[in-house]
């Protein structure tokens, strides 16, 4: 039923709101896909990655450079998928030997390497100045048209959401939670821990890469500052704010990532966003560690329990 409502709203929205807001909603959808990716890795599997923005960037630069190299439109998604699987697996290899903090540091180093690559291939990528991205056109479809970009993002985000909800009902989804909560218990029931972590890295890389690919075409411009350490930390803020391990939480996080900077820009203080982002992360971790959605769920459960008790007492 939830998906039905989602589809109806998504279909009606372009008739209700103007082009600018449609563009903002498109961005929310794109960031939701990427945030769902980090949620799979961090929220569900418990692996802290500081390279998520790099995976987002890999997708974005596939789009940006495809024009230069003349990669056909239909091949690009395959390329994004392939790169995400390969690089995701490569970054996951240290999980064979590392966990926790040390793993986070290796992913951080990978993120640095990615930004370094972009900066030092400046004749291709425009370096730290960034580059414009030629719109994606296929028949009547043109990604620089707000409605077309919106449709692309809507379909992709719907797919990603359905997949992540479904993941929660599968053996792989259960393995991830088990690996996050107790590696000893996981091993004792036969869960292959390393394989689960690598699968989570790959799945999260695919989601981030796909989101980045759409992002580049919709926004029309890419620069490495979007994909650096601070970009990765922002994704982390989104996951934690929304609520780790919850699909709806990732959407809330994406709303925050897109809307809050818009609000600050509109009142003339674009620099405030990172400050607020840092503060949000600290405050959320200290006060509502389950995130917005997790806390609402908890509240709902408590109210339900109280009502149930009253009902029994009264009857």
């Amino acid at each position: 039923m939830g998906f039905g409502i989602f589809i109806v709203i998504t279909a009606l929205l372009p008739f209700v709101i103007g082009q600018y807001y449609l563009y903002v909603v498109t961005q929310v959808m794109i960031y939701a896909i990427a945030t769902l990716g980090l949620d799979v890795l961090y929220g569900r599997t418990g692996q802290l990655s500081l390279a998520h923005a790099s995976f987002f960037g890999i997708g974005a630069y596939v789009a940006a450079l495809s024009n230069t190299f003349g990669v056909p439109v239909v091949l690009q998604p395959v390329l994004v998928l392939g790169l995400a699987v390969i690089v995701g697996a490569l970054v996951a290899i240290p999980t064979l030997r590392l966990s926790g903090l040390r793993l986070a540091l290796v992913t951080l180093l990978f993120g640095e390497l990615f930004v370094w690559l972009i900066d030092h291939a400046s004749n291709l990528t425009g370096g730290s100045q960034g580059m414009t991205v030629q719109p994606l056109t296929l028949g009547p479809f043109d990604s620089s048209e707000p409605l077309d970009g919106y449709a692309l993002a809507a379909i992709a985000s719907l797919l990603a959401t359905v997949m992540c909800v479904q993941l929660g009902k599968t053996q792989y989804g259960r393995r991830m939670l088990a690996v996050r909560d107790s590696e000893l218990a996981s091993a004792s029931v036969g869960i292959p821990i390393v394989r689960t972590k690598i699968a989570a890295f790959i799945l999260s890389a695919i989601l981030a890469g796909a989101a980045g690919w759409i992002y580049a075409y919709v926004v029309g411009f890419v620069s490495p500052t979007t994909f650096d350490l601070f970009g990765s930390v922002n994704f982390l803020v989104a996951v934690i704010l929304g609520g780790s391990g919850r699909v709806l939480g990732a959407w809330c996080g994406a709303l925050y990532i897109v809307l809050v900077p818009e609000v600050f820009s509109s009142i003339g203080y674009p620099n405030l966003f990172p400050i607020v982002g840092g503060a949000v992360m600290i405050v959320v971790a200290m006060t509502i560690p389950r995130g917005l959605v997790g806390s609402l769920e908890k509240l709902g459960e408590t109210l339900w329990a109280v009502r149930g008790r009253r009902g029994r007492a009264g009857g």
Binding site: Q171, Y172, A178, D181, S182, L184, A185, V189, I191
Partner: protein
């Protein structure tokens, strides 16, 4: 009634044989030269004073401690070098003394995790909810509900485990193990931390389950009465070596066992 296919598809029924097992930590031998045969479907009690090497032996069997010498065989398959997760797929499953659960999840989801050992469709079938995935989803939920019912924890199945009392958490862990029938079940002081009522309930539950679908079981327990009630065989360890085996009454009354177990504290015996 959905039934979970037992994973014991490799034939055999759970005959576990240890040959001259040796385990040591930093040069100190915790288990030395232990050779034992656990017969299929028999519940064996593992007794001995603290530091006798009981938990280490259990860890060695389940793959949580690496064996330096000797071999471990289950129905003629050698397990000695296999990691813990693979041994679980052979049907060797353990509980933890302190109970290890997925703290963020409900009791029901904790039980579902135990379905890992049942065969599952491939990842594409899982992610795209193909018919194979839908079948296994129904099967797993059915099996989890059934075992929750049998262990009497249905009413708390949808509560987060972090909120449950210890005795219930113990049952949740047991349900996670039993949701797919193990070939060899290893329990480390399952009655520790339970009151008299909880202990009786646990033993009755285990015995009832064992009577319906039997498996080989090795249980470390300090409660002598519980061992007498539940186990049909008994192994006593002291300082890493086996000092007596056989019928529980016989082993527990063995003078050497009593000396090792109770030291000089027992004067009234």
């Amino acid at each position: 009634m959905p039934e979970v296919e037992p994973l014991s598809s490799m034939g055999g029924e759970g005959r576990l044989e240890l040959r001259q097992i040796g385990v040591s930590f930093g040069g100190v031998a915790a288990v030395r030269d232990v050779s034992l045969v656990f017969r299929p479907h028999v519940i064996t009690g593992l007794v001995g004073p603290n530091g006798a090497g009981k938990t280490t032996l259990l860890n060695a069997i389940s793959g949580f401690a690496s064996v330096e010498r000797g071999t471990i065989e289950l129905d003629r398959s050698e397990l000695t070098k296999l990691p813990a997760a693979q041994r679980a797929h052979y049907g060797v499953v353990r509980g933890f003394q302190t109970v290890r659960l997925l703290e963020g999840e409900t009791a029901f989801d904790n039980i579902l995790v135990g379905c890992e050992r049942a065969s599952q469709p491939n990842i594409f079938a899982q992610l795209f909810n193909l018919p194979a995935q839908r079948r296994s989803w129904r099967r797993d939920r059915g099996a989890a509900a059934e075992i929750a019912e049998r262990l009497g924890i249905s009413s708390v199945a949808h509560r987060p485990v972090a909120e449950l009392p210890f005795a219930t958490r113990r049952l949740v862990e047991l349900a996670r193990i039993l949701v797919v029938r193990p070939k060899v079940l290893l329990l480390d002081e399952p009655a520790a931390g339970l009151n008299a009522h909880g202990r009786r309930q646990l033993t009755e539950t285990l015995q009832a389950y064992h009577a319906v679908s039997p498996f080989t079981m090795i249980v470390i327990e300090h409660d002598v009465d519980l061992v007498r009630r539940m186990c049909s065989e008994c192994v006593a360890l002291a300082q890493g070596s086996v000092i007596a085996t056989g019928d529980p009454g016989h082993v527990l009354d063995d003078p050497e066992v009593r000396r090792a177990y109770f030291g000089d504290q027992v004067h009234h015996a």
